[in-house]
Amino acid sequence: MSTEATLQTAQALLAPWTKGARAPEPDRLDVLIDAADLTAAVQTLHDARWGYLAAITALDYLGKTASFAQDARWQALMASGRVPADGAPLEALYFFAAGRAIVTLRMLLPREGAAIASICGILPSASFFERELSEMFGITVTETPDPNHLFLPENWPAGVHPLRKDFAPGRQ
């Protein structure tokens, strides 16, 4: 199957939850979804045996809130009243790869109290990625089988998340 066809299959599969889609590169497809729909979307990809989970990461948009003015997900988040007007969002990225094609599920999360459902029930291999996501970005992954730190020491201060933009590494 060609890369385009593979991507089209994924697009069709994910259509029920898609809030927007874009193709940043010829072999990539970014699908914008709501955080609440994550497990359903992953389940669909998994049931259709579409690709494998390549990575999970997140981005911090501190000071870049303006770039979301047109984003439906951002408006929905603002409407929910969970975000202070100047609170820059976090964006969780779930990469799935099938051959050359890469589909990225992108979800906006509020900065305070960011939470996302675990996909370990569908893909057990996500456990390490979810542990990393929660300690590095402070995104709570609900019902993940092992919520402990993966990389950071046990005595790492609570509420400090190294990969957020407001973390400035000072010499210890």
């Binding site: 990389f151 950071l152 020491p153 790492w156 190294p162 973390f167 590494p169 010499r171 210890q172």
Partner: protein, 170 residues
């Protein structure tokens, strides 16, 4: 008379100690956050081509058996206490060799949040081997330099004992 014999005995003992220390130093290797580059080069020095055992150096698993602590890498948050503990467990006299640029100064990892610093901010270091990673020959060179300094130090101590016994005799 007893003191003279005692001094002679001390002198001989010092010489035996130095001989043993210099001819068969056992080493333990500790990775406190290295990229593996130095570790595989240390491993390469004990394999047939470089064969560190020519100098009596043997890699040991237990700090209790080791005379030399070979450290690689910058010290990470989680490795700091372990490095200290391994060092404290080693019997006296003990010597530390820092292998690689990051073990000496932090190298490229200076300023990373997971890095506490370099080896000599945590434990005292006796020999430094720069390189990223140093060639196995350079590691041997560093160890030979360290053993040379031990020999010189041992001879000086034995010399002192000899000097003392000479003054006691007169």
């Amino acid at each position: 008379m007893a003191t003279i014999l005692g001094k002679k005995w001390d002198e001989a003992l010092e010489q035996v100690k130095t001989w043993a220390r210099v001819n068969s130093p056992w080493a333990i290797h500790f990775n406190s956050g290295s990229c593996n580059g130095c570790d595989i080069e240390i491993l390469a020095t004990v394999t047939p081509r470089y064969d560190l055992e020519r100098f009596g150096v043997k890699l040991q698993g237990s700090p209790r058996h080791a005379d030399i602590l070979i450290c690689t890498g910058p010290v990470t948050l989680q490795a700091r206490d372990r490095l200290k503990r391994v060092y404290e467990q080693m019997p006296e006299p003990k010597f530390v060799v820092a292998v690689g640029s990051c073990a000496i100064s932090g190298g490229v990892f200076q300023g990373c949040y997971g890095v506490v610093g370099h080896i000599d901010q945590v434990i005292p270091v006796d020999a430094y081997i720069p390189g990223c990673p140093p060639r196995p020959e350079a590691i041997i060179d560093g160890l030979v330099k360290l053993l040379g300094s031990l020999q010189a130090k041992g001879e000086a101590t034995a010399g002192e004992a000899r000097h003392d016994s000479a003054t006691a005799h007169s």
